[in-house]
Homo-oligomer: 195 residues x 2
DNA sequence: ACCCCCATGTAAACGGTTACATGATTTC
DNA sequence: GAAATCATGTAACCGTTTACATGGGGGT
């Protein structure tokens, strides 16, 4: 049995203290942890209902404007549940990277397709670096954010991952070029260099 | 609509040329691309049946020993389908990293729990480096493997990712220590250093 | 009056894992 | 002949995405 983590994302976001609607929670997720987590409304709304039935969150109806919007607030029981989850070791590292899969099988494709795959990976990594540098700037602009430490740790991870991808793309190009030029011997020579 | 990639993994493995049973395909996946892909029998067997109905693979019954085992061979149509898939750009970069999620919310946990999370991540990364260095040795021992280039590219990616994680763990520790010692000012000083 | 954004929700389909059942073959 | 390994398959369950339906509020 695997434990669903969706509920804990919701609790974690609400743990900041502010009452938020499902829509706002989703926006928050898209802004803060977008690079390693995503949630769809189809998950969020039913889960919020369940959480409130279990007493881990409660409706905080009174807001300035009267609306159909339903803001939620975390309860003490919710904070405890979140804490218990955080105390448990994390499971399930991310798996299933389609780019890697295609690259691994790329000798069955045209060389153009293989080059295309690497180029796309490079483009994605560059975009990611740019997005993360923006996020970094935004975080540094507000040094009193209680999430400052967490945000920086997470952004650092994202930046390192993206830059690693750029280096790896260059390396993959070099390996491929060596292979094209001189087969397995040249490839192995290239591999041993800067290893 | 998202495209299922399971079928193409099967085709990709069979494209090597050898006839293989579902069991052997799974073993091959576990040995070659285990770090970014996994398949379960519950996916493999029904999908093999479907592929054979579509004429992308065909049964290659006659093997030396008579068995319940059912080896499959890729057909020309299967190779074309694989190629078409490889020509399309890859979608869906891997998402949902529970470790990152917990770390992001870790200010709501005990400091012991946060340290524990990082320690586990470091341990996992070290194990991964060791496993990948073994894989590297195994690959280098057989320079005539037609998958040599792909394997090295993939191993390189895995090694870079794992080593990046080790560096990031150290950095995260340093950031956390700075925060504990001197709050956000010390944290920001530490952040700017070696940035 | 119209459009865009905010906002909630549901149903269907899908992909995937897990658990379970079963049995052949090899090796010791 | 027992144990380990090779091997196939299915059913149930679960989490997730997608598409669809609906409507209020603010701005132009």
């Amino acid at each position: 049995m695997r434990e669903p983590s969706t509920r804990y994302v919701l609790l974690g976001v609400l743990a900041t203290g502010d009452a938020m609607t499902g829509f706002e929670i989703r926006s928050f997720i898209d802004q803060s942890v977008q690079f390693f987590w995503r949630e769809s409304y189809g998950q969020i709304y039913p889960e919020l209902k369940r959480l409130s039935e279990e007493g881990l969150i409660r409706a905080a109806s009174a807001r300035g404007r009267k609306r159909a919007a339903q803001p939620w607030r975390i309860t003490p029981a919710g904070r405890e549940a979140l804490k218990r989850w955080l105390d448990r070791p994390a499971q399930a590292q991310p798996l299933r990277d389609e780019t890697m899969l295609k690259l691994f099988f790329s000798r069955h494709a045209s060389t153009a397709a293989a080059r295309e795959l690497l180029a796309a990976a490079r483009g994605a990594a560059q975009a990611r670096v740019a997005a993360l540098e923006n996020a970094e700037r935004a975080v540094l602009a507000d040094p009193d954010d209680p999430d400052l430490l967490s945000s920086l740790i997470v952004i650092d991870r994202g930046l390192r991952a993206a830059r690693m991808m750029l280096e790896w793309c260059a390396r993959a190009d070099a390996l491929r070029a060596a292979w094209d030029a001189g087969g397995s011997e040249a490839l192995l020579r290239q591999w041993r260099r800067s290893q």
